[in-house]
């Protein structure tokens, strides 16, 4: 029986993918080299790691309204994360996910997602149902 995590109704389509988890925050402008597809801010806990096609699991979105355009631009080049999970997002990343058609969920019932989800977990995100399933682990 896979592990099912309930969250607030999210944005974007249902997707599956591999989790990339860190106790850190997210801004497409501050944190990423969007050409190479890696986290580039030296102080970020995922510095040097590729985010392409991964499901990012992070604490919150940080300043920088540019991310709202950038998610769509990255997705069109095939250099975007597959989805983003936050403990709680700010408005920009929610707006950006809506514009990009990217899955984004937050506000989990059972606590902080960075504690519930492990790096490398296979996830199914269903934003319409407000649900994330950890496919590779049993409850």
């Amino acid at each position: 029986m896979p592990i099912i995590l309930k969250c607030h109704k999210g944005i974007g389509p249902a997707v599956t993918g591999m989790a990339l988890v860190a106790e850190d925050n997210f801004s497409a402008r501050y944190d990423l080299d969007r050409i190479k597809g890696v986290f580039s801010r030296p102080a970020h806990k995922l510095a040097g790691k590729s985010y392409v096609d991964r499901i990012l699991v992070l604490v919150t979105a940080k300043g920088g309204v540019a991310s709202a355009w950038m998610l769509r631009e990255m997705a069109e080049r095939g250099m975007a994360p597959k989805a983003i999970i936050f403990e709680r997002t700010n408005t920009i990343l929610a707006q950006g996910a809506a514009f990009a058609g990217m899955a984004l969920v937050d506000r989990f019932e059972d606590g902080c997602p960075i504690e519930l989800i492990r790096n490398g977990d296979e996830l199914l995100i269903e934003p319409d149902r407000g649900q994330v399933t950890i496919l590779n682990r049993d409850a």
Binding site: R29, A43, T60, G63, R72, N90, Q95, F99
Partner: protein, 415 residues
């Protein structure tokens, strides 16, 4: 969300595909944040530099302009944040003709939509200052935090697509800082070391922002012992928003929704304060310190400079020259640039080999490509917001007062 007949008609496509896209986007965002309905807005402000738009974003904008004019009519005055480059100075900064071409296409598309190309992140100082109780759809986190906190207006952080949607529909989903409940103080900080200059005010914003670290928290900052001017509040708010994703603060006795400490907390007793002391400032500056290092580029921006800051900078540069191998850039709004030209400030800064750029804010201007083309690594600035942003673009940032930045620019190394 509860929709009016007009909103339902827009959603059904009766006012054309541009308005339909706009309200569909807004309903998706409103549902996500549990908005009950829409609220009319007085202005929209679009962050849409070409670095973040990319070719795909520019093409998307051009697609909007292809719609019949009445079907893409903006319903409220809609203005712009800084652009990706300044046509007058991009060659000196080694930005490319390709970037300039994309910028021209984006600007043409916005102009075709009826957007006013103000190209500024200090519209609250230079265009039409927000007023208390006005609902707005402002892009640029620094604009939002200033509008909410200092002017008592009401806006969320609105990314470019959402701000454009608000311009098209004349409304925005009623959530977040449009609601009284979200505007009450949640954290208390007491300042025991008084900031002296703009870099200090930015550092204070950074310190409080790092401790707050949430869009949904409203820090209350007490202990400020004097009246604060608009540039000081600008640097404080911009850094607070940048480091903490914070969209509103109260400063009892200064900001309009907090005439007392109790009022800042919704007439409740203030919680115990976290103290901000001198060692917090020392540690903040210390993280970026690099004494003696060669300095490649000295930047005054983020936010754009007021005419008063430009005057201060011109005064510090009078009779001096920026060192060979160091570039000094000051970024301001187009209107302030015209004023600086007229008042002779631009000529004084340029006489010292400085660059006064209009309508950009440096970090939104292909910062990585500029660094690579110019061989820049060490960046010195008096903007705490900029040191937070720019490391991700491959720079090594340092923070100092405007005076120390100018002394370093002249020496070619951090003094």
């Amino acid at each position: 969300m509860k929709l009016t007949d007009e909103e339902s008609a827009m959603l059904a496509g009766e006012q054309g595909p541009a308005h339909q896209w706009a309200i569909q986007h807004q309903v998706a965002v409103g549902d996500f944040f549990d908005a009950a309905d829409f609220v009319p807005v007085a202005q929209a402000h679009i962050m849409a530099d070409t670095e973040s738009l990319g070719l795909s974003g520019v093409k998307w904008l051009e697609g909007l302009t292809a719609q019949p004019a009445r079907e893409r009519r903006l319903r409220v005055p809609t203005i712009t944040d800084p652009r990706g480059l300044d046509m007058a100075s991009y060659k000196r900064l080694k930005q490319t003709d390709g970037m300039a071409d994309l910028e021209a296409r984006a600007s043409a598309a916005f102009e075709a939509l009826g957007v006013l190309m103000t190209n500024t992140c200090i519209n609250y100082q230079t265009v039409l200052p927000p007023t208390r109780g006005e609902h707005l759809a402002m892009g640029d986190t620094g604009v939002v935090i200033y509008s909410n906190s200092v002017q008592g207006a009401r806006s969320n952080f609105e990314g470019g697509p959402s701000a454009l949607a608000a311009g098209l529909t004349g409304r925005t989903p009623r959530y977040g800082f449009h609601l009284d409940a979200h505007r009450i103080g949640t954290r208390h900080f007491r300042v025991d070391h008084q900031p002296r200059d703009l870099a200090d005010w930015g550092a204070l914003g950074g310190i409080v922002g790092q401790a707050t670290n949430s869009y949904w928290e409203v820090p209350v900052v007490s202990g400020i012992e004097r009246a604060i001017n608009s540039d000081e509040l600008k640097h404080f708010g911009a850094a607070l928003a940048s480091f903490g994703s914070v969209a509103m603060f109260h400063m009892p006795g200064v900001t309009p929704e907090a005439h007392t400490l109790a009022a800042a907390f919704g007439s409740a007793i203030a919680p115990a304060a976290d103290r901000v002391v001198k060692s917090d400032f020392d540690a903040f500056f210390g993280k970026y310190a690099a004494p003696g290092d060669k300095v490649d580029v000295v930047v005054f921006a983020a936010p754009q400079l007021s005419i008063i800051e430009l005057q201060q900078l011109a005064g510090l540069l009078d009779g001096r020259k920026v060192a060979d191998g160091t570039t000094l850039i000051a970024a301001t709004s187009p209107e302030n640039k015209f004023a600086a030209d007229r008042m002779g400030l631009t000529a004084r800064i340029e006489a010292a080999n400085g660059v006064v750029a209009a309508g950009i804010c440096f970090y939104q201007s292909y910062a990585r490509e500029m660094a690579e083309a110019n061989g820049w690594q060490r960046l010195l600035t008096n903007s705490a917001k900029l040191v937070n942003i720019i490391a991700g673009y491959g720079y090594q940032p340092s923070l100092a007062s405007m005076e120390a930045c100018v002394d370093s620019a002249v020496a070619g190394r951090i003094v």
